[in-house]
């Protein structure tokens, strides 16, 4: 029942007296696609940091399935099946597109296994399938450094897919993208969800509308409103603090 369910309850984070998160509670069910919006400083990125183990909460519970995430480090959380895409795309410039995906491919992660790793036909097929999915098949042997901004974003999403995560955290995937790229990304994310949970943090309301799923509005570190895009857009509190009209 609780398998793959993300559960945050009463989470607070305090930096030097500043409350980045204030008694935040949130549940994301398996297979759910959830969009999170909110003004700057609402705590969206901090929330992701908490889930992925980059920051420790001052108070509160964070669990994924039956596991307590507050007691694990980044690598173990990632191995648990939680993948994260950063706001600023970070792919490995020194490696080719193919090699980037190969690193992300689910496989034993310890140094010895990495040393003895050989690429099986099955692994190659999976990488090629993902290359197809993110539309980078013809760039497989190019170094990531020479990709365009949108291609880097897709490569990063592709790397997340290779990890076969149960939960995907995606931070502002369409920032700086052209309209066409944005549309492509929305389709990509919709396709990914269903088999796994996806949490998308985004500023772009059009993009959130295109996703067409449940929306959570964060403000000053806690949940302000939750529901469909139409619901939150008509919520007077949201209009006041976020939409500003």
């Amino acid at each position: 029942m609780s398998e793959g369910r993300l559960y945050l309850d009463g989470v607070s984070v305090v930096f030097d007296g500043f409350r980045a998160l204030n008694n935040l509670s949130l549940i994301v069910e398996p297979g759910e696609l959830r969009a999170i919006i909110g003004p700057n400083g609402a705590g969206k990125t901090t929330m992701m940091d908490i889930i992925t183990g980059k920051t420790r909460p001052t108070a509160g519970t964070v669990t994924f399935g039956a596991r307590d995430l507050t007691k694990m480090d980044e690598a173990s959380i990632a191995n648990l099946g939680i993948g994260r895409k950063f706001q600023k795309p970070t792919v490995f410039d020194a490696l080719t597109v193919f090699e980037n995906l190969e690193l992300a491919l689910k496989a034993p992660r310890d140094p010895w296994s990495c040393l003895r790793w050989t690429l099986s036909g099955e692994a190659r097929r999976r990488i090629e399938a993902t290359l197809e999915e993110i539309g980078l098949s013809d760039r497989a042997q190019d170094r990531a450094a020479i990709l365009s901004h949108g291609q880097r974003q897709w490569l990063e999403i592709g790397m997340l897919l290779m990890q076969e995560p149960q939960l995907l955290l995606v931070d502002e995937p369409v920032a700086g993208m052209t309209d066409q790229e944005t549309e492509h990304t929305a389709a990509l994310l919709r396709r990914i969800a269903g088999t796994r949970s996806v949490v998308v943090v985004e500023h772009d309301l059009e993009f959130v509308r295109a996703l067409g799923e449940k929306v959570t509005v964060l403000c000053e570190g806690s949940v302000l409103s939750e529901g469909s895009i139409d619901h939150v857009q008509n919520d007077p509190r949201v209009i006041e603090v976020y939409l500003g009209r």
Partner: protein, 366 residues
């Protein structure tokens, strides 16, 4: 577009093959030196003892450079303390060589080395036990640097000490060891260290035969180290290292335990440095605490920078070329050498970030 890229790729491969060929040629030429040393001195191809022992020294330096390159060029760990691992390896073999002197020392004590007799010690300290056996000493030359790197690396990587902080810590490490080894009561000969070695593996040192044997041992070790490093850097582990170097936190979010990855490479690199030191000491015939001086470590880093970090060929090219300049220059203008070395630091970082090898390999920016 993709066609032009593949041409570039092919060019890149061509340059790689050229480099590899040159490298093999160089190593083969080195292997000939002890043979040419046996020619009559009036022969045109005759090579002096000095050249053989100096190039043997460079071969050891090249192993040290490989070790530094593996940690710095691939994993982004700039250690300013690799000289300490080198020296520890040297001291381990030095202890073996001291024990082999036996009653041939100045004081004629059957077991104790001269400096211990001089200090009025009557018993061998516990940590000198076992060093009468060559395999044990050789093992220690690898294990001790590896252990030290393991402890320092574990403490540093675990608390995410990276970049210049790590460099400073490793520099402090070698500095502290230098101070410690200067002390007489450490039991490592204090200021003077170890010297006056007599034999190794039943072979009297300071003979042309011994020199050639040690030279070949170093050359074989260099070849082995090169193959080992090549195997690592071409494996997926090598790609993980590059990823750690460029974006460590991203690698962590991919589920890799970067602390373990870095620690393994750092320990292995320290062991290679220890091996280099162990080969160096019998060739040179002396080891003293000066080998721990922070300047030595950072000089070795410059070999790698000059040659081109992140490429194994670069480490070798750098170690040989910088040391060649040093040997040549210090013989006729010793005052000038420090200017040149300092200038190399400046020039390479400002104008040649990918080193000499980078000049050849235009296409690949790894």
């Amino acid at each position: 577009m993709s066609a032009s890229l593949s041409i570039q790729n092919r060019l890149r491969l061509g340059q790689g093959a050229l480099l590899r060929g040159l490298l093999l040629l160089g190593l083969a030429a080195l292997a000939l030196l002890p043979v040419l040393n046996r020619l009559p001195p009036d022969s045109a191809l005759y090579v002096s003892d000095f050249v053989v022992s100096v190039s043997g020294k460079w071969v050891c330096y090249a192993i040290l450079a490989l070790a530094i390159d593996l940690a710095w060029g691939y994993a982004g760990i700039l250690s300013l303390g690799h000289g300490a691992f080198f020296a520890l390896g040297g001291y381990a073999i030095g202890m073996h060589l001291m024990r082999l002197i036996g009653p041939r020392g100045v004081y004629g004590h059957p077991v104790l080395p001269d400096f211990m007799v001089f200090l009025g010690w009557t018993e061998l300290p516990w940590y000198w036990q076992g060093f009468q056996f060559f395999p044990f000493a050789l093992l220690m030359a690898l294990v001790v640097p590896g252990l030290l790197a393991g402890v320092v690396g574990y403490l540093a990587f675990r608390s995410r000490i990276t970049g210049v902080y790590l460099s400073i810590i490793t520099q402090a490490m070698t500095y502290a060891l230098m101070l410690a080894f200067f002390r007489n009561d450490m039991g490592f000969g204090g200021n003077n260290g170890f010297t006056d070695f007599k034999e190794l593996l039943g072979m009297p040192l300071n003979t042309p035969g011994a020199r050639a044997a040690l030279f070949y041992a170093a050359l074989v070790a260099l070849g082995g180290s090169l193959l080992l490093c090549r195997h690592i850097t071409r494996s997926k582990l090598g790609r993980v290292l590059l990823a750690v170097r460029d974006a460590e936190s991203r690698v962590r979010f991919l589920g890799y335990d970067t602390t373990r990855v870095k620690l393994s490479v750092f320990v292995l690199s320290a062991m290679l440095a220890g091996l280099a030191g162990a080969l160096y000491v019998p060739l040179i015939g002396i080891i003293n605490p000066g080998e721990f001086s922070p300047g030595n470590s950072i000089e070795a880093v410059v070999w790698v920078a000059v040659g081109g970090r992140g490429t194994l060929a670069g480490a070798l090219v750098g170690a040989f070329s910088v040391n060649a300049i040093k040997t040549w220059l210090t013989s006729f203008a010793p005052d000038l050498w420090l200017f040149v070395l300092g200038g190399l630091f400046v020039a390479v970082t400002l104008f040649l970030p990918r080193g000499l090898v980078g000049l050849l390999q235009k296409g690949d920016g790894r």
